[in-house]
Symmetry: C2
């Protein structure tokens, strides 16, 4: 019993933390409640109720189903729902008209066959990538509306009125959703994507510098930030997809190049893979002794700090969405540092040759050489990030 109490308390604390860490999430809950309350007004106040008829439940359904955390998500679902309801309903009415002409015997057959064919085709179309990305939700609603209207048509005689009412109530639901979603503490998928890229780039800069620092001077800096970058593809893709539905907001235009963010994200991920391998080599069993490490210590740390500077300048560049004036200089500095590392590696060979116990020293340098080479490889990939960010900024 005591154990249960502790567990419940722990759980409550976790839930509370979710809300405190990102108050927008708590706000989202309140927004949904508000939108539903607004819709329920159509139900509770008699004049409005008489206006839209008994189909007010479609407004409720619309609000519950399309209200999404981000504005982009709500707009995506809202547009999909509106368009799919219209086309599905219109198509069902058209087929209903033909079925009516074909006589009492054939009517159910025509309706049944058309339902089967359209539902199959529409379901299959979801496997087409572009349809999946843009109209997945719409396809569901299309099938739903088509089946409902084509079947109700067989029973209820006033199909057109019904369709009209349904559309108007859906329009009410969609409008309330959009208004609440856009004007009360809006959460923009585009803004979130923008922030995600910026934060990931900062993490990449810190963890690269941290990694190399930990290895060479034994400081205990946090170097795990790159791990967030490794698995961010799914969230980047979905945010970019939703962002394309959003209108201009803040510093972003309607046709903001969201796809380019994905390219930046992918370049960052390639860089993170390399940092991951670097981290693996740093934590490997076979280690270079400190006195040998010293030969490359200063220059490796210089390279990583220069690369980190480049990444941080890129963060600024993405943040302000302008081409950074000093980026060429910084990349130049980084490349100079890389050159210095190259020549330090060459000098290392001289010191090996001069030392007495030749073969031992050489073996000892192997992990160090690998790490230095990976540091250079990371710099190459940082340059790829720079290219993709410049394309974004232009």
């Amino acid at each position: 019993w005591q154990g249960l109490k502790v567990k419940v308390f722990e759980f409550a604390k976790k839930v509370w933390k979710i809300g405190v860490d990102d108050p927008r999430k708590a706000m989202h809950g309140i927004k949904v409640g508000l939108a539903l309350s607004l819709v329920s007004l159509f139900y509770y106040t008699r004049p409005l109720y008489d206006g839209v008829g008994g189909t007010a439940m479609w407004a409720i359904m619309t609000v519950v189903v399309i209200f999404d955390y981000s504005v982009g998500g709500s707009l995506y679902k809202g547009f999909n729902r509106t368009i799919a309801t219209s086309t599905g309903g219109a198509l069902a009415l058209g087929i209903h008209f033909f079925a009516d002409k074909s006589g009492k015997t054939f009517e159910p057959l025509v309706l049944g066959a058309s339902l089967f064919l359209l539902a199959s085709a529409a379901t299959f179309s979801r496997f087409i990538p572009i349809v999946k990305a843009r109209f997945d939700y719409g396809i569901t609603i299309f099938i739903l509306t088509f089946s409902l209207v084509s079947m109700s048509g067989y029973r209820v005689e006033k199909v057109v009125t019904m369709a009209q009412q349904r559309l108007s109530t859906i329009a009410i639901g969609v409008t309330i959703c959009f208004l609440v979603c856009i004007f009360i503490c809006p959460v923009w998928a585009g803004g979130d994507l923008h922030l995600l890229i910026i934060r990931n780039m900062e993490k990449l800069a810190d963890s690269f510098e941290g990694c190399v620092g930990n290895y060479f001077d034994g400081s205990e800096k946090n170097s795990a930030g790159y791990k967030c970058v490794l698995n961010s593809k799914a969230s980047e893709d979905s945010l970019a997809n939703l962002a394309t539905w959003e209108p201009a907001h803040g510093a972003f235009n309607f046709r903001h190049p969201w796809k380019q963010y994905l390219k930046v994200g992918s370049a960052m991920r390639y860089c993170a893979y390399c940092i991951e391998a670097l981290n693996g080599c740093i934590n490997s069993d076979i280690q270079t002794p400190e006195h040998t490490k010293k030969h490359l210590s200063a220059v490796c740390m210089k390279v990583s700090s220069e690369a980190s500077k480049v990444l941080k300048e890129m963060v600024n560049s993405v943040m302000t969405m302008t081409k950074s004036p000093c980026i060429d200089h910084l990349v130049g500095e980084m490349n100079i540092a890389v050159e210095e590392l190259h020549s330090a590696m060459r000098t290392l060979s001289d010191s090996i040759t001069r030392s007495s116990a030749v073969s031992v020293s050489f073996v000892e340098t192997l992990p160090l050489i690998t790490i230095a080479s990976l540091v250079i490889e990371v710099c190459t990939r940082v340059e790829a990030i720079v290219d993709s960010v410049e394309e974004l900024a232009s």
Copy 2:
């Protein structure tokens, strides 16, 4: 006009290819059509129609909304929908009862406040990871049912009958869905996850061997397979989540350790990151000349082929879900090869020292050393895969 025709033709070819590559996708479309046709029988045949009343539309809605590509997806949505409809409806009836007692003035207030609070709380609960993973769809349905019942309660007097009818129609929809989904060409999320892991492991084995082979003997083998592994986390997570809903099927029990597949997947991804870095170093600008490469060529290729054998034995082990009897031997062979590579690297230093143009040769070996070290690192990560697979098989 001609251009449009070509485009449409190209598109049609692409769509056709989707169906041919995986006929299960086309079958899925047909299955949805079939389930809808079955449900529509309740509408078209009068005795059945009279039995379930005018609420047959809830059965249609249920089929359209819960029919998912995989059995796990359908079961997940079906259970969520059933439970959420029951609890949401029951709660709404309970609150409706209290609101009724509180008098005409307070009734809308009580109903409105309860709607606002419950909708907000339920929406917020979606941000809790465990709720999100298991009950995301259920929360939507809970809010939906609660709002519909609590609002209809205010207008329609026969709330209980309505709720009963709705539940029975939903049960019909869910039953038809499950039957069609499970008994006609079922697509099991668990089986798909199993296959995905197996295929990815094969790709990993081939691409590692291919990568190293391409570098050392210039063969043009396909070595890009590891790229599929890099980004498979999202699909693995979603398949594993759906698989937990599935009953025993084929070789899998009900409580098959699907979570363990995620661990295997993650170990494979760590291996793939390293292969990615290796590939980056292989394609880098600075190259070791062929005559220097030769020193490590044979042994590196031996290591990669041993590692590939280990991975392929793991494929068998996952496929048959048994601990492989010869895996310890194979891992031993791989580690012997790694040891040989270590000593070959040591011998390399001797040949450097003996050669006349010392410093040049040493610089030339740098990329080779890095690549050899990364090959060793990949082997370490292959061992981690072996550990996770053994845990799965036991």
